[in-house]
Symmetry: C2
Subunit: 333 residues, 2 copies
């Protein structure tokens, strides 16, 4: 257990009113006096997203500090907003459920992690609710404003290139290192790759600058049409979602897998790259001329395949179908 040892006070000792009072210190103004919070709007459309994070389903206290649980919950929601076209995060609300014998320090550390993430990505804590329950749950709703580009999973078209904002598999490797799993070729791993992987697992940073570049580099003659999603549930999974929502085939070049620098070779490594999960990179389907401009501006971005007419399927370049089930896969049911 990585849990902080200080402050052993438990929530049932503190009581609901005092818990809310303490949480108030994490907020900019007195929203906890009221049940609601204001969102200032200035004619822009807003974009909203809700994600739930359940103990033992989405996070484990064995491998994740409470502060990192808070950070990751924010990062996952911000990732959804970014990959929908929101470059300006307004704020989040949180529904927090914890067993009554949870220590206050756990809640405090989760909120510190959320606060740090919001400092990095923008946006503020707007409010929320808390209750006791059998297991820990964070339900996060994030609100951002939408710029000129609304990315939908269903917007891909034959002829598009598929581009990702960065490498995949790092978070899965970070988890393996933190859990002291058996790792093939472990001795070959560079210090830099290990550090990068643990960071990717503990404090992932969704690619907000990559979205800004994507918006700024659109060739003038092309309309604001691109498909996008994030790869939070795995690289192949996000491609499968674009393929089915857009009703088209996706072709991936095995020589263009989105691997990090110094990523080892081998079956486990390919699996972790293709569907390790929690990578929080953008996967975008867009016209070739736009794609070429984007990868010039985002050093970590990479073309990984293309869209063709055909049934919703993932195919290797040689025409062989990719079976996602052959790769490790996330499911929440």
């Amino acid at each position: 257990m990585l849990k902080s040892k200080q402050n052993k006070e438990t929530l049932n000792q503190i009581g609901e009113r005092e818990i809310l009072n303490r949480l108030k210190t994490f907020m900019d103004d007195g929203q906890i006096d009221d049940d609601t919070s204001i969102i200032n709007t200035n004619r822009k459309n807003l974009i909203i997203n809700t994600d739930v994070f359940v103990e033992k389903v989405h996070f484990s206290e064995e491998t994740t500090f409470p502060e990192n649980i808070g950070w990751k919950a924010i990062a996952a929601n911000v990732s959804d907003l970014i990959s929908s076209g929101s470059e300006n995060i307004i704020g989040i609300t949180i529904g927090l459920i914890t067993p009554p014998d949870t220590e206050w320090s756990w809640v405090n550390d989760v909120y510190i992690g959320m606060q740090k993430a919001l400092e990095k990505f923008g946006g503020k804590l707007l409010g929320g609710d808390c209750s006791q329950g059998k297991q820990k749950v964070l339900a996060i709703t994030a609100v951002g404003s939408l710029g000129p580009l609304r990315l939908h999973r269903s917007n891909a078209q034959a002829g598009d290139l598929l581009v990702t904002s960065g490498p995949h598999g790092l978070s899965r490797l970070g988890l393996a290192l933190l859990q002291s799993e058996e790792i093939p070729n472990k001795n070959e791993l560079t210090e830099n790759l290990k550090k990068q992987s643990i960071n990717a697992h503990q404090t992932p940073s969704p690619p907000i600058d990559a979205l800004k570049h994507l918006i700024n580099c659109k060739p003038a003659k092309i309309p604001w049409r691109a498909a996008g999603t994030d790869s939070s549930d795995g690289f192949l999974d996000s491609l499968a979602n674009i393929s089915s929502s857009s009703n088209c085939s996706v072709i991936i070049d095995p020589n263009q897998m989105p691997k990090a620098k110094d990523w080892p070779k081998g079956q486990t490594w390919d699996k972790w790259c293709l569907n390790g999960g929690e990578d929080f990179e953008m996967i975008v389907s867009l016209p070739p001329s736009w794609a070429q401009e984007w990868i010039k501006l985002v050093p970590s971005a990479q073309i990984i395949g293309k869209i063709t007419k055909g049934p919703p399927k993932l195919l290797w370049k040689n025409g062989e179908e990719i079976r996602i089930k052959n790769y490790s896969n996330f499911t929440h049911f």
Copy 2:
């Protein structure tokens, strides 16, 4: 158990993707293809609220049909928006957590209840997320637009009258009837009061028209300043919140308790009225001239006391302090 007997299919048999597909039918457009939803804004400020509803803490399947669980979750959030000044509900997102052996029909019925409530109160289902977990949880975030009156708990001032939009205790009586509890004076209960109470417990209706009247009847010379909250956690509890947030004393006239027509006399009945909980009425603190206009327009509204200078306390008219703990009280920790 009141649970529906049809469709015994469980969620782990159905799988995550198919669950999301089925939930899509409850939405106006294809937001489930994406992780986010658009909120159209037109220069107004928005107001946002998150509430969590946890099985065995906030609801029990023994006394509540799944459809009513969905309705009540929406009503509770709408109540928070109304009592903050939002007369226009834009929509909600839902984070749904259920054990894997939950029957699909349960989820379906909860969504039908939410849909019916949204048809009544306005707003649409914007999106959400689902996951497995040890117990059922609904985490609802509601968004509304704000009119000219922002009600804060902290806005009460000495000289204000306290007014509620309607009677209290009905939901608690409804629960007692549904649970076949021992009820004193049970034979005296009118059929109308029983029916009204069961409705108040199963399908509560937050007073959206009362808010509209409150906004429309403000005397022109008075500024847009009033304190407000809803009585979802009990009548006395909401008064205590106004008292502490506004740092003033609250004086209640025992002859002006907000009782329903034909409400019986006796200690249990006073307790249920004063802190039965889940009443979802507005409690507003406002200047006397405004209060007088409001009660003319809202037949169920009633003056219940006043605000005076003094420490945050609830007092009877004779100066005796009201101890909330002497009345049944909600707590979620």
